[in-house]
Structure formats: C-alpha cells, structure tokens
Symmetry: C3
Subunit: 516 residues, 3 copies
C-alpha cells in the first residue's frame, strides 16, 4: 500500500530525470501540497465524525441518570420518593461541579504519575490533542453513574447531608483515582498505557467500559454505606426473617430499566471514543473500529437479555411467580457484567456472561438475606457482584484479535485464559478486584463510619416511619387529590396524602364516612 | 479508483514528456498511490459515518420498546400492569436471543432463495460486506417492535406461557420470513433485489421501513390472538353494547406515545442504512433526508384529524385517542416515507386517522376486543400505508432510494402506472395469508390446549396479583405513622383511608 | 498552506518546462481531476456528517416535547392532567402543520427583507444548498418548544379552544418573525447577517440558541396569558396570601426535567448546525467546530448544574426543606439562561451564569407572589426571567475568540463587556430584549385580551373546581381501580376512581366494607 504522507523530495527525485531539476521540484511540491490538503481535510472530517459519535454517546450515558432516578424512585416506598429523586438530580448536578473542578484532573490530568493525575483543573488548558471537551462530558457522565449506583444502596434511611458529603467525595476523589489507574494512559494498571511503560503482568487490566472502575466502585461504596447504617426498620422481623418492602411503582422501575438499557448503548460502544479508525488495510468496510463498535452493542444486548431470561425462569422456580422487577434487575446485572469485556469478547461469550451474571445476582441476594444486609435496590449485589464477575469473565474470554485491535501497539499481549491466552490477564484482573475493594473500603468505609459516629448518617426511627419526604422535603411526591378542589377555602396547602374515595362525578367523600 | 488505470493513464501522458520511461512510470505510480490512499481514507470515513448513523438509529428504534411498554401499561387496568410490562421487557430480551440464533439468518442469510435465508446463524461468519453488527442490531430492534405490537392486542387476559410461545415464534420465524421476502436482496418481492433478477411486476414492493413488514405482521398476529381469545370480561354488556374499560394512566400513554415518536425517527430515516451516499453529481451539498419530515407531517396530521373527528363523535377532546391517531399516522407513512413528497404525507395522515376511526367502529360492531387497538392501528393503518405508497410514490425519489433500475414503476397518481399498486396488493395478500396461516393455528392450538386464556376468576382479580406476585403500585405502606407499632408488616397496601 | 482547489493551468505551467506542452497540460488536467474527485467525495462525506449531527440533534430537541409534557403533567393537579398533556401533544402536531405551511417560510424564507421571510411555503423548492429538510426539522423542534413553554403558564384554567388558537398563532407567526430577526441571514439584528449588510451597532445580537428568541418569547406569551386570565381559584386566600397548589406528581416533574436536560444537548450544541467545519489551520484536531460543539455541551451542563445547586441551598434557607421540584426548576432556569451564550463563553463563565440565574428565578417568584401573578409552572418567571438574564449575560461574558469562530468573516466585531469587548454588544442585546418584549406584547397581549372579552379564554369556576379532565376530556387520567374487577357484572364501565383497600397479601377487601 502507499505511503501515508506525500514526500515532496521523493517525488522530486522521481521527476528529476524527466526534465529540469527546479521545475520538477516545483511540480512535486505542488502535487504534494494538494495531496496534503486533501489528507488534512479528511482528518478534519474524521475529527467531526469522532466527536459526533462521542458526544451522542455521552448524551446517552447521561440519559442513564434519568434511568437511575426512575429505577430508584420506583424501588422505594412512596414516602421516600422525593428524597431519592433529589439525590439523583444532585448526583448529576454536584457531580458536574466537582468533576469539572478537580475530578477530571485527578483522573486524566496527563502527564502524571501512575496514581493520580494533576492537570486540567477546572478544564484549564483544555482542549489538547487528546482531551477535547466532548471527552470531559463523556467521562463526567460516567462519574455520575457511579454516584447514582451508591445512592440506591443507602436509600430510605439516610440523611440528606450525608448524601451530599459522600456524593461529592466519591465523584470528586475516589472514583477519579480509580479511573486514573485503569483508564488513563499514565495509570499503573492500564491496558492502554503509554507505549514506553511496562504493563502490569505484561498485560494491564482490560476493563473496557468499567465493570470494575464504575460498577464495582459504586456498588462497594453502597455496600459500606448500607452495612454501616444497618437495615431499614421493618426489613427483618423479630425472627430475623426477611420482609419484602416493596417499591411503590413497578412502572417506574420498568421506565428506569429501559432508559438504562438505552443509555448503556452509549456507555459500552461509546467507550471506544473514536469510531473512524481503521484496523487496516485501509478502505475495508469490515476492519475498523466501526465494526467493533457495532459488535460491542451486540454483545451488550445479548448479555443483558440472557441475564433477564435466566432471572425470569430462575426466580419463577424460586418464588413461583413471574416478576418484572426481578427481571429488570437481572437485565441490569447482565449489563453490569458485560461492561468490562464488551469490546473484546465474541457474541456467544456474551451469552455465557449474562447467564452466569443472573445466578451471581441471585446468589448474592440469598447471601444478603442470610446476613441481614439490606440494600433497597440490590445495588451492591448487582453492581458490586455482577461487576466483579464481569472482570473475571473478561479475563477468561477475551479474544486475541479483538484485544489487539482495541489495545493496539503491543503484539503478543496476553488474552483470555479459556481462549488460550494464558493466565496473566486473569492475574491482572484479580489484582484489579483486590485493589478496587481495598481502595474503596479504605476511603468510603471510614467516611461512612465517621458520619455514623457523628450522627450525620442515619435519620431517626420516627422520621424513617413517617418517610423522608414529609420530614425533610416538604411533602409527599404524589397528590392525586387536593383539598381546595372542593372546599374552596384554599387552606389545604396540598399536603394531603391520602388517596381519597371518589364518587363518579369526582367529588371526594368525607373522610369520616370511610370505615377503615 | 483503481491503481492500475490511474498509473497507466498517467504514465502514458508523462512518457511523452521525457525519454526516461522508467522515471515517468515511477512518478505516475507514486502520485496514483497517494491518490488511492486518499480515496481509501475517505472510504473508511464514509463507513464510520454510516455506522454512526445506523447505530444511533438502532438505539432510537430500541427506545420504541420503552414506548410500547409505557403505552401498553397506561392502556391496561392497574391490576394487569406488571403483566404487560413484563411481556414488553421479554419481547426485547427473548427477541434478542431468538433473533441472534436464527431470526436474522432466516431474514438476511444471503445468498439464499427467495423464500428464506440460510446463513449467519448465531452471527456466524459475520461481519461480511453489507452485513455488519450494526445492521444486525438495527434489524433486531425492528423485530422486537413487531412482537411489541402483538402483545397489546391480547393484553389483560392471556396466560404468560402463551405469551412466551407466540413471541418467540413471531420474532424467530414468522417475522423474519416476511422481512426476507421484501427486504433481503434475495427476496422474491423485494424492490432492491439483486441486479439481474426480475422484480415482481417489474417493480417489486416498496415497503421502505415496514408498514407491511412490521406493522401489518404485528397487527394481524394480534388480530388472530384477540379473536381466538375473545373479548375481556365486561367489555360488552348483555345487550352486546361496548363498555369502555379505561386504561389506568393517561400519563403513561402520553409518555409512551412520545417515546414511540422519538423512536420513529430512527425507524423511518434510519432505514436508509447509509447516509453518506450521493445521488447526484458528487460534491452536491443536498442529499435529501426528507423521510423525517414526511414522518412528522403524517403523524401530526393524523393526530389533528383524530382530535376533531373524535370530538364530533364523542363530544370531548381525548388525549388517548389523539395519541392513537398519531401512531396510526406514523404506521401508515412508514412504507412510503422515503419516496413521497411532504404534501402527500399530509394526505396519508389524514386518511390514516379515518381508517383507524372506521376500524374501531367495525371492531365495536363485531364485538372484537383489542385493549390497545393494536390490530386496527397497526394492521389497518399499515395496510393503508402500503396502498398509499403505491399511489403517491414519486419517480425521482423511487429512483434515488432504489437505484440501478431506471424507468421502474412508481405511484399511480404520480403517473407511474398500476404495476406498483399490483405489487402492493400482492404484498397485503401474502402478508395476511402468511401470518394467518402461521399465527392463527398457533393461537388456536394453544386455545384448545387451554394454554391461552386465563380463568375468569384470575381475570377478575387481575394478572398481577395472581401471577406476578402483587400489584404494580403501592402508594401506601403500613409502617407509616398510623400503624407503625408492629413494624412487621412490611408489605404494601393501597388504602382509601385518610391517615388522620 | 496549499491552495484549496487544484488549478490545471498552474500545474501545466510548472510542467511545461519538463517536456512537451500538450502532454504536460494533459498530465496536469488528469492529476487535478483526480484531486478534485477526492475533494468532492470528502465534501459528500462532510455533508453526511453534518446532516447526521443535525438530524440527531433535532431528534433530541424533539424529545424535549416529552419533557415538557411530563413536567407540565406532574406540575398540575391530577384533575387537569389529560388537558395539559393534550396541549403538549398538539403543540407538536399543530406546530408541525403550521410551521410547515408558513412558519418556516416567515422565519427563513431567503432572500427577503429584514422583517419577515417569504419563500419556502410548504417547503416549496426545498432543498436548496443552505436549507435542507433536516434544517426544517431542527427549526420545527425549536418552534414547538416555544409553544410548549407558554402552555405551562396558562395551565389548569384555560379553555381548550383558546389553547388551539394561541398555539397556532404563536408557532405560525409570532415566533417565526422573531427568529427571522435574529437568526436568518436576512434578519435586521442577526449576528450572522449576510456579509454585505451592516450589523446592528456593528455587532448584531448573539442569541446563539435562543434565550431570547425561544425562551423569552414563550415566557412572555405565557406571562400575558396568565396575567389576563388571573390566578387559579384558591391560589390566593382571602388575606391575599399565596397558597401552594402542589402538582400531583413530583416523579413526573423529575422525568420531565431529565428529558429536557437530555434534549438540551440537541438544543444548544446542535445550534451550530454544522460540525465538520475547521477553524483553521485545517487538519488540527483542536481548532474546529467539533471542539466548539463539545464546549457548548459543557457550558450548558455547568450552568444548569450550578443553578440547581444554588437553588437547593437558596430554597433550603428560604423554606427549610430540600425540595426536588424547586431544584428541577432551578436547573431549567440555568439552562434557559445559558442558551444565548453557550457557544461563546468559557466554562467558568457558565458557572456564573447558572449561579445568577437561580437567584433571578427565586427573585421573580417572590415578585410573582407579591403581585398575585399565578403561573402554575413558573414558566414566565423561568423562561422569561432567566432568558432575559441569559441575553444580558452573553453581552457581558462573550469571549473574543469564540465569537469570531462562531460568527466568522467580520474581524474586530464587538464582544463581551467584561471581557474587554466594549458596550456595543450589550447595547444590541438590550435592544433585543426591548423588541422581543414589545413584539410579543403587541401580538399575544391583544390576542389573549380579545379571547378573554369573547369569553373564549377562561373556563367557568365550576369547571375549574371539578377539573378540566372530567368536564372536557372524557374522564380522569388515572384509574387505579375499576368496578368490574369485583362486581363481575361488567356494568361498571371503568369510570370509578376509588383506590380500593387491599390487605397485605394483595387481596382486595370485600366491597361491602366500602361505603361508596
């Protein structure tokens, strides 16, 4: 194939035999400058395509925040709905400020050491060739997803102030450090490390879109929070048996799950960051990142769908009914698991990934019930447990060709154990699980414990009974009927929670006539 | 641009300049290889932008599944909400597995005969030229849309197992075959058939995004299911008069309709598959992406027509009816969205609204009960859309969307003769026949085996309580202040009580 | 850098010394035609990229309509839900027809005078080189957003017919004229005016994505509607104190806000229309519209998030609780404010923008309460007030480099006052606020007043008490329990609203215990 750039001197050397040297040089320069212009224009359009791809992926990842909000809202009791939705809005809002100020700098502030970045505070000197604004937006959307996971674990019993503190700390410090280790080109365990540096076990950690970096971090933070707070009032009866505290709306859970599914198409395929990149030879419609991006979307879909079906039948055997909320959780477990390996495994392997993820989730839930661990959204089990499985899964099934395409420049690197790539990738991934567990436990554990000791973490039993919305957030989330529509005095003020009895023409019956 | 031709031509020209042939040849080769590199890079870039377009379109089409779920949930009574939402989640989930294993290969497994494809099982030997992963994802999103349509027709009275059976069969077999006929380049009735093969009536069927392939298939399947099951209890009173069984939440209906609208922008414009394709002299800045506009106009016209039509009929302004009208307009324009003018889309939507109103009157007369009007909406308006396309397809747009065969027939009213209409009538007939011949016996068989309909007691109590572990909503729970004492309650209660 | 197009004669002149004239000319022509083909192919791909970007942005802006519908639905009382959702659906539907027939022609029908366009009625002679179908779709999505804003202000008390009239008038006439002034290349106050025409104050109005053109127009129209109709029954008690008439579902408000946020990523960054445009030198990955698009998404995010946080703490001080609905409104206020300047300010300035926007909204709400102005969604305050602040903000903080990149071809144009660009931009923006206020007041004010006088505007007090849904729209939006599930006769007909009593295991209590 041809040389990539036009060399005027090379062309002149060829032309010099044709005629006079001076003219030949001029002709060659002219032709080459034309060709260079064409190449640069193509480079411009390539930047445009890549940015379009990355931006819209970032928008989809952001849409997951709506998914988390609805999933959480539907999974808690009606009396705590305002609280949990507020935390989800603030995840995004406070996360944006903290990630802008220093989170992004800690994560990707290159050049830096392997532990923490130290440039780009408040987007200073952005854009640079590798770090454009769209990249910041994409990473921000990831950071707030991690915080969104945690908020589910400690729902229904946490003080709002505690929430603000942990959320800022997680988005601004704990998560960025982890993402630096595994995703920054400077990170000590990154698979895409700068070419001069040596990789962990000669392999680095292939956590493509963050089963470990995002889901395990969020899930483990939630685990410590939920563990230190203890279960909700009424979650376990006097005999220690688990009591289901059902969420107030399965419809919202389904909305949330579908929005998360929708957003995951930004999360996983979008993590390629560039789409207009050929794997060579150039001009082939098959061998390029565009094909890998599509494959990633397919593996993501298959893993989630397999997990959903497995959960459907598994839970049916366990409980005797077909439960949509469980199916949604299984679905999300499959997605959380495939996130690490989505880009480097075959579609058939994704089916295996989802199948196991469903059983991991079911198993973790049984364990949680046995140890009286209460997580209203199963977030620790789902994101922590299935996330860890996803990290292991990738080390087993990563395919050689795909690994070399996604992480180019280092031929002969290890790949999945079961694909014949040896155990070094698995070793690196075990290290990843260990250090993530260690780091998150060492930072979030003490934070939650300190807040607990200072009385900032858990609300009082009375408040918990009454619900957070009334005690802290100015009222109930739902007002299907309000006083003033019939009294006319306007004095009701809209904090009437009961669903009143209606006659057919829409008037409310006096409450006293109701015998209950 | 081929390397050899470029080099040879340039070498000929350069060889006259000087006696040194070898240098001239070298120079020409050098220049041409540079040009080829440039062309190939542009080709790569073209692939990247096409893939980006197709993938994000597929994501939008997937978002329609959320739309279906919410539309269905809002349109059924609260006691069956969990059931219908579960079916919608499983449409997507089971559909992915079945479409991955064999649906996609039945539909697009090329090369094959005109009836059924037979390659790419479980994505084997993918990707190949023309069939990349993103294409699979896009087609999967279409397949689950068809299954989503059907689930609405048989809502509120169907056993869950029956649902699993029909959904797998539809997504894995019935729908892929139909899409093979009309969309695969091997299909016997495809408008974009492989060059060299003759087209049906010299025209082929122009069902661009699937008024027939998706909507009629889903709608007719639902029709047979609903017909075999019979109406819901209480739907018709002793005198045979229709009784409205209102859905439990208009908000969810609106939410679902808007999500479907949003997703339709992937469904219709996305069906071009490629966006970086010039129709004209290259470098011309306008490459005509009008199908998003025709889609909008048709749906909006249908919504407005329904608004006033229903107002005359019932005396009030009903948002749920307007949403259904809107979706009817979309279902109708789906076939012709890329080959008609915007003004024709308005006609399409206007008629679609009346088609839907008319079919609903017929359904009431024949005591046919479809909780979501899915059969009327998708099959009826879909069939109108197929006819509409045969009437209004514009010559230039047809040639652009289906290139390589000049002088092909186009819309009857646009002066294109009746051959396209003949092909489209054939399409309606074969789709009706095929779906009836496959889904009808399936539903009837399940009915006879007692697998289809739930018992009257269960129907009264609602599917959620009897099969799905409880109602979807729990706005009040008993550990709130009143009865907090025991703390052991834990469950949920829907109360009519005032708390104080 | 090289010439943009290959010149055969220039190349021939260089080659002519090499050998025979005829052959040299032929060679040069051949080479140049090859190069031209390559350039044209690149131009085609560029069109495809730009169209993809614009179309998906338009889809996102359309998704805002879902956001408006849910925000409005959640913010009104349950008895008016059907009504408000219908208006939102019809905004989009009627808006499409009117904007197709003449709205787009009034706005962008070029060539035309500075006041109103006059081509492209019913998309006649579309596409032209600058106006493709995708551009129409994008602008339509903007037009219906303006109508959606207004519907919030007059919710819960307006006749449906009045709604149809004003919506058509606003989308088909009032809004297109304003957008012509500021956005069309022929508009008298446009910053991107045709190069031969002089700019207003040598500057033109930089209302990039429409804080003035969309939000102020929608907000002011709503202001006049709400003012003329007067407050809802029960909004102010006998002593004139404000009574909160709470919306019926905070969950819907949160869904709506997140969908609006999601859609705003089409609204603001999408307003660049083209993404594949280099700011030069070509081939640089940093200096191009793609980078500016990403920056716009970042400024949008930061402004909204800052406003949300500011509102959180501001309202907490004011009312004593953490209110998610207020936070959502603050968020949207920040977005409305940054819309004008999103493309021409630095990220740090966006933080200032959001901070002030939150206080503007809080201040406007206090004023509204004092003057007994009732706007159920705070739409006039939010979109009118924060939109006006956004217009001023842009005139203060617009950065020289960004202004010249977004509005090229006029070096030395004014920019933000506080950035050292002089006061001329501020003068132009003050003019913008004045003319928008004047124009909308002069058109929508009389319209609402005339409808009021003809008795077409407000519903009767009885209907308002009973709710619009029952009186006009065939029934209540929610039916959580229906008669026939227990009576078995099927005669109920499903218009029974009561929420029945359930026992713990999901069985319904016998109906006989229910007195209704």
């Amino acid at each position: 194939m041809a040389e990539e750039t036009c060399s005027a001197s090379a062309l002149a050397a060829l032309l010099v035999g044709v005629g006079g040297t001076a003219n030949a040089t001029g002709a060659a320069q002219y032709i080459c400058s034309q060709l260079e212009t064409a190449a640069l224009k193509t480079a411009d359009v390539t930047s445009a395509v890549d940015t379009t791809f990355l931006l819209f992926s970032a928008y989809l990842v952001f849409a997951m925040q709506l998914g988390f909000a609805m999933l959480c809202a539907g999974s808690v009791r009606a009396k705590n709905t305002m609280n949990i939705m507020l935390t989800n809005v603030l995840d995004a809002a406070a996360g944006a400020i903290f990630y802008y100020l220093f989170g992004f700098a800690f994560a990707f502030g290159s050049p830096s050491n392997g532990f923490i970045g130290r440039h780009f505070f408040a987007l200073k000197s952005i854009p640079t060739p590798n770090f454009d604004y769209s990249y910041f937006l994409f990473q921000w959307a990831f950071a707030i997803a991690a915080a969104g996971i945690t908020s589910g674990s400690i729902a229904e019993r946490t003080q709002f102030v505690a929430y603000l503190i942990y959320s800022s700390f997680l988005t601004g410090f704990v998560y960025p450090i982890v993402s630096h280790w595994f995703w920054s080109a400077d990170g000590w365990a990154a698979a895409g490390r700068n070419l001069g540096d040596s990789l962990l076990f000669g392999s680095g950690v292939i956590d493509f879109a963050g089963s470990g970096v995002v889901h395990m971090v969020g899930g483990l933070a939630g685990f410590w929070g939920a563990l230190i707070e203890g279960p909700r009032v009424g979650r376990f009866d006097h005999a220690g048996r688990m009591v289901a505290l059902r969420g107030h709306s399965a419809t919202l859970v389904v909305i949330g799950s579908f929005m998360l599914w929708f957003g995951w198409y930004g999360f996983n395929p979008g993590s390629f960051v560039y789409i207009a990149k050929s794997y060579g030879p150039i001009g082939s419609p098959l061998n390029g990142q565009w094909s890998a991006v599509g494959r990633t979307a397919v593996t993501t879909t298959l893993a989630g769908c397999t997990a959903a079906l497995t959960t459907l039948f598994g839970k049916r055997l366990q409980t005797g009914h077909w439960n949509v909320v469980d199916v949604c959780n299984g679905l999300l477990g499959g997605f959380a698991a495939i996130t690490a390996g989505c880009a480097v495994v075959e579609p058939w392997a994704a089916v295996i990934c989802g199948f196991v993820a469903a059983w991991v989730l079911i198993g973790c839930n049984i364990l949680a019930a046995r140890f009286k661990f209460d997580d209203p959204l199963e977030a620790a089990q789902l994101h922590g447990g299935c996330g860890a499985w996803g990290v292991i899964f990738t080390a087993l099934f990563a395919k050689k060709q795909y690994v070399n395409e996604a992480y180019p420049g280092r031929p002969g690197r290890p790949y999945g154990l079961l694909m014949g790539g040896g155990g070094r990738l698995l070793a690196a991934h075990v290290i990843q699980i260990v250090v993530i567990v260690g780091w998150v436990s060492a930072t979030m554990g003490p934070l939650f414990y300190a807040m607990h000791k200072m009385g900032l973490l858990r609300i009082s039993v009375e408040d918990e009974m009454a619900g957070l919305d009334i005690t802290r957030h100015g009222g109930f989330a739902y007002v299907y009927e309000d006083e003033d529509s019939h009294s006319g005095t306007g004095g009701g003020g809209g904090v009437a929670f009961p669903m009143q009895t209606y006659t057919k023409n829409g008037e409310r019956q006096p409450a006293s006539t109701n015998p209950v």
